[in-house]
Symmetry: C2
Amino acid sequence: MLTVDDKNYICSLDYAMSIIKGKWKSVIICHLNRSSTRFLELQRQLPGVSQKVLTENLKELEADKIIKKIVFPEVPPRVEYELTETGYKLFEIITLLETWGKEYIKEFKINNSPN
Amino acid sequence: MLTVDDKNYICSLDYAMSIIKGKWKSVIICHLNRSSTRFLELQRQLPGVSQKVLTENLKELEADKIIKKIVFPEVPPRVEYELTETGYKLFEIITLLETWGKEYIKEFKINNSPN
């Protein structure tokens, strides 16, 4: 067992999964990839996410040091989100998972469909 | 958007995450790795998992073709669980996530602890 911030985890994998758990975090990380992105652009790329939910998820990812928020000193201020270094390493793993998902759907869900 | 088995997903990553979501699935996959494992051995390696929860998770992973159940024609019958080929590809990605988790904890949780 592993204790981090007074919470127990089975192992470091369990802890890593806790950072990306939920419907939106892994997909947000995936969409941020190489470039910094503005809130509205991100919201546009994530059909179905509400402003409130996206704001919460971004805050948590920022607190977990997966992303960083960049505020440009303009009027009105421009805000963009970008992956940190550790966030980018996570992004690379998540893209492997995305590819695995594509191959799985092709193999088991499309090629095997009855009609 | 993506529809699989009449359910909507944001993308193939969202679908892949749905296969490993929850507290135990990724950890079960991680523990099965190269060798087939008996139920009780698996339960022993997963502190805190109940027989009912482990049985449910194994059933779902089997239905999703991530693992396969091998029944040896002995008296009483011996049952073991093993990763399928697609399950093994997922295992390889999950071990990267586990390593990422170890490095993250080392960098942000241990080296930065106040005392």
